[in-house]
């Protein structure tokens, strides 16, 4: 994870003294007391429980006897796990690019408009709405006998089972609805902080709008993209709440997510599998984050 870069202004590498690791460590020590209180809490409430989870992944369910890799084997052979992982990955793979692209386009257009303020606020609004409050409204809109199906039938198109086969897209839509505003805002602040002088200078040299976009704006937005990716990825897990409140613990196949599985395992006392799967998920995220960092660092 690199330090954030000052937008459009390259770091002054000549003045930067090359510090050795040892000196870095020493200098860092003075920041330790800042870190300590928070870190203790994190260790106690987050890291230690997870380590305990890892320990449990090698033990049997209730009797807690050592069983080696049995739980892991059970998890890898478990079809529900495969389904859940596939769905979760599919969801992330669809949503993230979609959200990023759409919000960027909107942000770019908005950055040219004058009365963008109001539009920004409106788009941001869904983020403030708690999930539980919307459940009833979603049902009224999207149920098999809901408003939207009513309109579709009126237009002669027949009902769409939003809570059945179409539930995946319903969730994607809900995700985008919620996160569009914030993502647009992030893009906008990134775009707006690019000094307009740069683009003007380029234009006098004969560059077109598109070239401005591709060669000046986009590169400068790298750190913004990074933040957006992380936050959107984080929020993609939150969509479970909607799925659970709308469709319960055994929803349609397409939206059977990782959290559903964990929740059901817990209710069925399949604790060994839960622990093993938790370790697997952690590993996957760890690898993904490490890869992301490598890609970022390399193109820097």
């Amino acid at each position: 994870m690199t330090d954030a870069v000052h937008y459009g202004i390259k770091e002054n590498t000549e003045n930067k003294t090359k510090t050795t690791d040892k000196r870095k460590n020493k200098r860092d020590l003075r920041y330790l007391p800042f870190l300590l209180p928070g870190a203790v809490g994190v260790i106690v409430f987050i890291i230690i429980p997870f380590a305990d989870s890892a320990r449990r992944s090698f033990l049997t369910n209730i009797t807690l006897e050592w069983c080696g890799l049995d739980n892991y084997r059970a998890v890898f052979n478990n079809e529900a796990f495969a389904l859940a992982m596939k769905n979760t990955l599919r969801f992330t793979a669809v949503c993230l690019p979609l959200l990023t692209a759409v919000s960027f386009m909107i942000a770019y257009v908005l950055s040219k408009l004058i009365h963008a303020r109001l539009i920004r606020s409106v788009l941001l609004f869904p983020m403030a709405i708690p999930t539980a409050t919307m459940v009833l409204i979603w049902q009224i809109l999207f149920a098999d006998s809901g408003c939207i199906n009513g309109i579709l039938t009126y237009l002669g198109k027949g009902t769409v089972r939003f809570l059945g086969e179409g539930s995946f897209w319903l969730l994607v839509g809900s995700y985008i609805w919620k996160n569009l505003g914030y993502t647009v805002l992030l893009w906008l602040t990134g775009i707006e902080s690019i000094s307009s002088s740069l683009c003007e200078a380029a234009k006098t040299d004969g560059a077109g709008e598109v070239q401005c976009l591709v060669y000046i704006i986009m590169p400068s937005l790298r750190p913004t993209l990074y933040t957006i990716t992380i936050i959107s990825f984080l929020n993609s897990f939150k969509v479970f709440r909607e799925a659970y409140l709308l469709a319960g613990s055994y929803p349609h196949r397409d939206i059977y997510l990782m959290q559903h599985l964990f929740s059901n395992w817990f209710a069925e006392m399949d604790l060994g599998k839960m622990a093993a799967a938790a370790v697997c998920v952690f590993t996957v995220v760890f690898v993904a984050a490490a890869l992301l960092k490598k890609v970022w660092d390399r193109e820097w």
Partner: protein
């Protein structure tokens, strides 16, 4: 011009569910029942009237005057959220500051771990949190909701971003003038990183106000439940109350959103231009 029309439609579509919710909550019993009936009976389609014929505040009245539990759950939510946010700032701000200043590989590794744990959904760590809270004797208390949330690494991540935009030179100047690290943090770091802190508080509020899984898992006592979990527990028959409660749940979130938005945007823009 076309662009504006496009955005007008987009905004309308975005706001539609909320507007619908508010309008429906003003419907009286019979209108509401007829609007929702297709859901139960499976015949016909829901077609609520855009504007209620007999708008009424009766649901709100019933909720606020005859349902004492509502105040309790509202207060629980408010109290939990406030306590968590204050503590989060207390613990996360120094941590974020430290991470943004520390350059060693160890600190970077620790920060990466923070980020990864931030990304873990609740269900994955649910098992062990249960056990920990149980061993500490905190099950079925508000502390079970508050403590793990206080140490969430999400605010650290957000604040880190804005803290790391502060150039080291400014700090060096201060050090030359003889300021200690803590003073630097208080006098320079905090003010300059204000936007990040506010962003973390705003986002944190919206997330905590919405907390569903933890109360369901850790809390048994009805009196400790927060508002976000109370909503799904209202009886099926009283949709009017559900809608009224939903609208009221919405209000603090909107408040925070209004307050936070200005600062969020202003802070972000200004910190970008600053050298």
């Amino acid at each position: 011009m076309l662009v504006y029309i496009f955005f007008a439609v987009l905004c309308a579509a975005v706001m539609l569910p909320v507007i619908m919710m508010v309008l429906l909550s003003l419907n009286d019993e019979t209108e509401l029942a007829s609007a929702i009936m297709p859901l139960e009976s499976g015949k016909g389609f829901c077609a609520p009237d855009p504007l209620p014929f007999f708008p009424t505040f009766s649901h709100y009245k019933k909720l606020m005057l005859y349902t004492p539990e509502f105040y309790r759950v509202f207060f629980n939510s408010l109290r939990n959220t406030a306590v968590i946010l204050v503590c989060q700032v207390l613990f996360a701000a120094p941590s974020a500051w430290a991470f943004s200043r520390m350059k060693s590989r160890h600190s970077k590794l620790l920060f990466d771990m923070y980020v990864i744990f931030m990304l873990m959904p609740f269900q994955v760590t649910m098992l062990s949190q249960y056990l920990l809270l149980d061993r500490l004797g905190l099950m079925d208390t508000s502390a079970a909701l508050i403590l793990p949330a206080v140490f969430s690494t999400f605010p650290v991540f957000i604040m880190y971003r804005s803290f790391s935009q502060i150039p080291e030179d400014v700090l060096d100047h201060a050090r030359i003038d003889g300021a200690g690290e803590f003073t630097i943090f208080l006098r320079i770091g905090l003010p300059m990183g204000r936007s990040g802190m506010l962003a973390a508080v705003t986002l944190g509020f919206l997330d905590l106000w919405n907390m569903v899984e933890q109360p369901l898992a850790f809390i048994k006592d009805k009196r400790l439940l927060p508002l976000s979990v109370y909503l799904p527990m209202i009886d099926k028959g009283s949709e009017g109350i559900v809608l009224a409660a939903s609208v009221i749940t919405l209000i603090p979130a909107v408040f925070v959103f209004i307050i936070g938005q200005d600062e969020l945007e202003a802070g972000m823009i200004s910190s970008g231009i600053k050298e």
